[in-house]
Structure formats: C-alpha cells, structure tokens
Amino acid sequence: MSELSILQIAHDHPDWMPGGTEIVAHDLARALDAREGVASRLLVASTALHRPGALPGGLQAVGEDLVLHTGGYDRFSMLRQDGDAWLASLERVLARVRPDVVHLHGLDRLGAEMLPALRRLAPRARIVLTLHDYQLICANDGLMLTTTEGARCEGAQADRCRRCFPEITAARHALRRAHLHALIDAVDALVAPSLFLRDRFVDWGIAAARLHHLPNAVACAPAAALEAPRARRDRFAFFGNIASHKGPLVLLDAAARLRREGAELNLTLHGGLGFAEAEFRTTFGAALANAEPLARHLGPYARSEALQLMQGTDWIVVPSLWWENAPLVIAEARAAGRPVICSGIGGMAEHVRHGIDGLHVPPGDAAALAETLRAAAADPALWTRLAGAAVPAPDHAAFVDDHLALYARLRERVPA
C-alpha cells in the first residue's frame, strides 16, 4: 500500500499565533505524520506582522513546516491581493508533497482562490476544509457580531450585512456570498467542529450532507492524578488571546464588582494582547486596574504550560461575546479536569452543559457573571460535582482516526 500524503494548510503557525485553529492544524499534521503509512506536511500562511520583508507569495521552510507569505489580502472578499507568485509557490509545494489529500483549516489570509488553484494544480487530490470560524459567512472577521452594537448576528443576509458595512452595497455582500459559495464548491468535504457551526453553514446555504461533524481534540497529556481537596474553590482563570470578543472586559468588570464587595476569590488572566489596537489596550488596562488585586493579568503562556496552569486554578472562565465554535480552551479545561463557566451561547453552550459539567452565564452580563463567580467560589461541593461529571476530553488519537477515515472515504469517491 502506498503512503498517504496529506498536506495540512492553516492560516497561521501556532508558534507565532497560538490560536485554536493553528494548534488543531499543527497537532493534526504532526499526529498524522507520526502514523505509519501516512506522510503529512503543514503549510501555513504568514503576513508582514510575523515575517516582515518576506516576498509576497514567497515560500519558506521553517523546521518541518512550510510558510507561504501573504503580501496583500482583502478580508472582505477573502481573496489575496498580492499577484500570482503564490501560485508558483503552491505548485512547488504540491510537486514536493504530492498530496492525496489537501486539508485546509480556514481560508483567511490563504485566500479563497486557493481552492480552485488546488483543484487545478492537484486535480487528483481530495480537498477538505475545516471550518474553524465563520469567516466565510461574516465579513466582520467572521465573528458574527454586528459592527455597530456588537450584537450577535443570526446569519448573513445581504441587506443585513449592509447595515454592518454601510459603505458596501447589498449587491456586493450578495456577490461575496455567491463567490465564496462557488469557490468552496471545489471542496470535497467540509468539517464542522461543532454542531452549532454546522447549523450556521447549513443556514448559509451549504448542503448538510457536505458538512462532517468532527469535534476538536487537544493533543496533550491526560490530566494529572487527583489533587488534594481544597476547602474553597475560589481560583478562576481566563485562558486565551486577550481580545474584545473573548469577553475579558466583562470578566474584569465582574471582578471589579467582586473586589468592591470584598469577595474572597481571585482571578488570573492568561494570554497576550497580541496585535490588539491601542484603544483596546488602554481600555483593558483601565478595567484591569479597577479589578486589581482581585484580578491579575499574567500575560502570554506557552502551550505546553496550559494544562499545568489550568490545574493550578479551580475554574476556567470563557466569557466570550461571540458564538465561538469549538473553543480549544474548553477541551483543554476538560483535559485538565476543570469545570468551565462560560457564556451560554453557541459553541460554548454546546460543549458545556449548564449545571452538569459547567455553568452558563448570559454573555456580556458582568453582574450575572460576578454573581456566578461568587456562588461558585462559595460552593466547593458544586465544583466537585461539576468536575466529576465532566465528559472525558476528546481523544486526539480518535480525532486523527476520524480524519483518516474521512480521507479514506473521500478517496474512494470517483472524481467528478
């Protein structure tokens, strides 16, 4: 049996952008490559933020991985704006990897036209696209939040989208949708890490049969042995990029309220501000000052430290304002044996059962969140019950198996 060659493509590398998508793609590529009879390479995009001076469309090898530089990119149309040198680079990659399967993790910064290019340059390869976010549906960075009020959006419609981008006509929004639909027709299988996301894409017009539900998993060591019981479970932590839609300001507002009340608990925020704009940095700094010393920002953390850091706390708080998809932090919390307090919406609500293995709070409601934190800190039995009821963390090996099975099914299909 000949070796299965797989090219994983992601829009960033976890070494410089430790987001869920990057980690999932990277870990999947590594795990696949470790399997017998499978060869897997990771190709990631980079931008001037990470690799200033790189030539648009240029190709580099970084360790085992390949980096394709994006010189210009239009976030609205999701198309590259850096000429066609990238096609030659892609052709070189494909000639080298000779993939049977090309598995893309999002199209952001890669450019949606990578799909027809792959179809043309690797006509025999099967193409899989994991939908890690809503970029295809929503031009507002895929957040499905309105640009005006930050309200959650139920789905894309041209006239509704125009309200978010009044400078762009409804016709152009409709064209964006039609264009992206046509492009992703080149994909053989679409992977939805959450049912919530799958339903959003069905609403958007993708046939349900094309969407395969494969929940994310983390490739990490299992949870450490049970620790000694604590009288109070009053340590709360936030993990992830410090960005507005992730809800850190709501969390700090809740912490500030608790500080003023004299509540006995503490909150740590783990994560970097990344490329946050100055205005957000200022706002965040002020919110943090209000919440200190109850709350502390400990800054970025290494992936390898995540489980240990989580185990050093009692609760993981995921106060996101957007729908989320299948937040990796929830999977990691589960692996660390920590119950999650999260916004009761979207992908978070799907992965955390309220009152069973976690708690839901209304998104954006700092008072409710403060009340939940206070109650959780005061009720160690609750912690024990929730932590004990948690479903096991998804097994990464099974996750890899599921992908291999999907690839195999696709390869059995007669090409159109």
Partner: protein
Amino acid sequence: MNIRADLSLVPAPAVLPATMPRLVGARIVPLADGVAALIFDETAPAPGRQRLDALIDGRPLRRAAVATELDLRCGGRRRVLMIGTGADDLARRYVTLTLAGRPAALADPGWLQPPVVEPTALIDGLADAGRRRLLKLLLTTGASLFGPGGCDGFARAVHQLLDLTGVRAAEPASWCRLGSRARVLSYLLPAGTADPGVTELIALGADRFARIAGVEIRLERLARGVALHVHLPVAVPAGAELVGLGEVPVLLRAPGAEAVPRPLVPWLSRREASVGRWLRERNAAEAEGDPAAAVLAAELRHAATPPELRLCHLSATPKGVLHALEIEDPNGLVRALRLERGGAALDLPLPEAAVRTRRTVLLAGFAPLARARGLDDTARLRLVYRSGRVQTVQAGPLAQYSGEVPARFTAAPAAVAAARLSAERAPTGCRVTTIGSESAAPRLALVIDAAGGPDLLRARAAMLHRERGAGRVELVHHLADGPAAETVLRTLCEIEVTFGLATTVVTLAEGAWPSERLRAALGAVRAEAALVLGAEVLPAQPGWLQIWLRALVGPRAPHVMGATLLGPLGGVIAAGGGFEGLPEGDLPRGRSRAGSRFAAECFGLTRRGIDRIGGLTAYYPDPDILLAETVRRLRGEGHVVRTLLQARFVRYAEPRPIDRLEAAVDAAALEALAR
C-alpha cells in the same frame, strides 16, 4: 422757368426790321431726340428779368419750352431756352431768340458754320451757381416737360450733363431698414468734404424723375471721411440713382439688390450720438403706423439688454445636428434661431406663445442638416430678430455626437434617438489578445463585458470553473481602453493561472459604445453558440452551463434566447418574453415593463443569431436596443424567440434608478427602427 406757347397769338410776319442791330449767334445744343436747347451768352446783361422767347422761321414758338439764365464764370449770363424740338430740325430753321420781345440772338441755317454744337457747350463757362441752376432745371421743370417717357434719350442727356458738370458720385457705404418703408442710406465722402447742403433729392428712374419728399440728411465726421446719412421715408428701387440738389449737387446711388441691409441696432451703436438720436426719432415717428418699424423701435429700446443664447448641447451626426439651446429673450425680440451647417440653414422658430409671454425658451431637437461633403464641419448659430436682423452668436467646429443622452432633452427623446441612430462611428478597430491556451473546439462562448471589475470577473470565473463542461467553453471578454483596462487584464491573467481559464480579450478604444464592444466580441467567437453576460451578471445557481448548452447547441435552437435576470436580493429584473413559469414571489411590481424586455445583460445566441446581430446596420449605444431590434425582426420573419426560465442570472448591482429619459429615448429609437 416754364413758358408755355401762347397759341392765341397770330404768327408774326416774317419781316425783319430794316435796321437790325447786330445779333449774337445762338447755338443749338442737342439734348435728346426732340429736345434741344437754344443758348447764347450775354456779356453785359441788362438788369432785371427779361422774358426769353424764340421765333422759328419768324413764327412764335408753339411748343413747350422752358427758359432760364445761368451765371457765367466771366460775369455774364447764358440764356437758355429748352424746347421740345430736335436740334436737327432747328438747324434747318431760322431761329431768332428774343429778350422782352426784342431779337437778341440768331441762328441761321444758311450760316457756313452750323449752329448745332456739342452738349458741353451748354455748360462750358458756367459758374457753379449756373451749373446748379441748370442741373435743377433739367431735373425738375425740364424733366417734367421733356423727361423720361416724353423724349427718348433725355435721361441719357441728363446723365451726360451730370458727368460734364462734374457732379460728385457717392457709392453707398451701407444701408439699414427703419421699417417696412423707411431706409437710411449712408455714403462715405472724402475727409474734408463740406456739407453739400442737399435740400432736395431726385430719383432718376428709367421712365421718370421723381422728387422724394421728406428726405432728411445728416453728416457725420469720421476718421476716414465724412459719412452722409440719408433718411428716406420710402424705399427706392435697388440701384436707383439719386441726385441731391443743394449747395453742391451730389449723385447718390441707391444700394444695389445685392447689398444686404445692415442691422440697425449695431450699426446705430457705432454712430455719433446726434445721428443716433435723429434716427431713433425718425424710427419712433415711423413706428406709429408701421409694425415693422415698431418691432425695430422695440429692438432699439432694449439694445442694452439683448437676448441671450445658452448653448446647452450641440453635436452632430452626418445627418443632423442635435441641439439644446436656451434663449432668454425678455423683450420678445427674437423670432427664430437659425442653425447653419455647411451651406444649409434651418430656422427654428420660437414658439409664438413663448414670444408673447417673453419666457425663456428651450429649443431642443435634431435638425436635419446633413454634413456638407468636403467642408469642415462647422456650425453657426444666429438669432433671427423679428426686425429681420440676423445676429451671429456662436460659430465653430461641430463636435461629433458621442451617443450620450445630454441634459435638457426631457421633452425631446425622439431627437436623441434620431441622433443615436444616425451617429457616425469611426471604424472601431479592436485588439484581440489571448490569455492562456484556448479550448480547441469550444461548444459555447461566454461573451462577457469586463467592465464590472476584478471581484465580478473572479466570481464569474469561479462559477464557470465549478461547472461540468467548463473546459469546452470559450471565454471572450470585451472592454474599452481606459484607466481600468490594465486592472482587468491583470485580473484575467490571474484568473487564467488560478482557474486555468483561458480567455480572448477584445479591447476597443476608449469611448467605444457597449454595443460596439459586444459586436466586436461576437465577431471573435469561434464556438457555435454564445451566451452574453453583462458586466455585473453572474449565474444564479450551479448547473447553469449544461442547461444553456442544451438550449443553444443543436439544430432546433432558436436564434436568440432570452434569460431571466434577477436582482441581488431576488426579484425579477427582466424576463424576456414574459413571466410564465416564474415563482409568484419573484415577480416584480412593474411586471409588465420588466417582463416584456429582453435584457442584453444575459441572452443566448446561436451562430445564426450571432450573425444576425453582427449584420444589423442600425447602430445604437445600448445593446438592449440591438437585441430588441433583432428580436423584432426575427419575430417578423416568423421565428420563435423565447426565454429560458431555468438557469437564471443575477445582476450583482444595486437597483439602478429608472432613467425615464433614457427609457423614452430607447422607446423612440425602437419606434424609429420599426418605421
């Protein structure tokens, strides 16, 4: 002096006194057939008036005669008796001239030297006063007794004498009408000329000399001479000779028939104030009974606020001139606007109501003034006043009509349609370039207007790329040169390397009409059928290619097949032949309008259909009209033209506001084509 023959007198006996004083010799001056003058000079004339008479062969004169005495330069007098008898006849007779009844001069036929002399003898030696008196006699009493119609050659004799007396002849410098009758004639005399003191004006006609009553004359000193302005209360025949009698006689020729009258207002504006006042007064007096003079009086009154012409649009086709000209004439002075092209002119009358109400008038239309061969294509715009004055207000080369619907043609859509249909389009050469490797045997061509921009080009390519059979589709993009062309070409190159979709690019000069681009692109099609797509038009759903291939490829395919065009948010924009088969929810409110229209933004053509559109002789900017005309003709020939209701298309553009004028122009064009 007019002395009639006294027929009651008994003829005197032909007896001469025995002691006859020595008589001076009388001379006979021939003036005309049957007219002669008997003259003799007195060096020391007796004081007072003495009657001059004549005896012919001793008998008193029985014919009409007129006598006068003329001063001589040397101090004496010349006695002249002009009589209605020819010189030859008189020369055969014994003529005695008497003064106060006494013989004073004699002409004897028996003289060795005949008494008949040259006409110059009549004026030789005369003082200026004598010449003036003689001239007046000839033109007045003489003319009434012997003048034109009475005696042949009298007028000629008068002219001869005018020459001989050295009367200054002045040619007209200009003339103006002051109404239907009155005229002012102007003559330029040499600088330093004294006022001739003209008191009377005699018109020398062929059959009569006529004194013109009511003549007024003014002098105006100019840098280049002296202008003599003659106000005539009545018109005189073209080219008539007028003799001004006064201190210095002057011969004034009336303007010839070829002399065009000057417009009074501008002419008068160059005259000195006194002349201006004088003629205004004359005109005002005339205006009471002469409507033409009244019109002129109004023009004079409002000379400071002349009518204004605003050129809103002026362009030409070989067959005519498209114009929108606004005339502001608050005083109602203008009758028409004269549009001239080459040697032809057309008066565009101002509506009478507008003249009466003195409103601003817009003249918008298509004047059928064809371009003259071999001449520069220039135009002149002139205001034709009610007074008859014609004022040039604009002149210059004519711009070629470019096909647009200019402003101000709301009420004249047919004019724009006529211009469009007759517009001359320079042969629109096109560049045909190929990007990528063309399909060897394409079945269907997609003929695409590339003006939509990169996003639309890419999206359309993606929609073709996903279709089964895309490899046998020939892509033909058409565009006009211009700032966006480079971007389009770069995008098409990127599309080729991204999707592997080769394309033929047909590029026309900037300003080429959409219809010209479409025709040029159809001319490049190799496939047996074509699907034409507008710049913003994309297929609505997957699977469209096979449906259109089935519809257009095959022996029974209609020459032309319409398509259903939707808006970006749904709703039908155009559905060719009708709405049958379309979901009710998709139907637009104005379904009759949209439903009846074939949209050139999406339609199919077989090879015969391609040839039919290419063969249309009518040119028009909008491809919709070409398509509509083709459909009309095909249906007229009994062909079925229908609409494919499946595989619809979407126009990814905001709803276009309905341009009612453009629609009216198109409708007028279709009407014109159908005629």
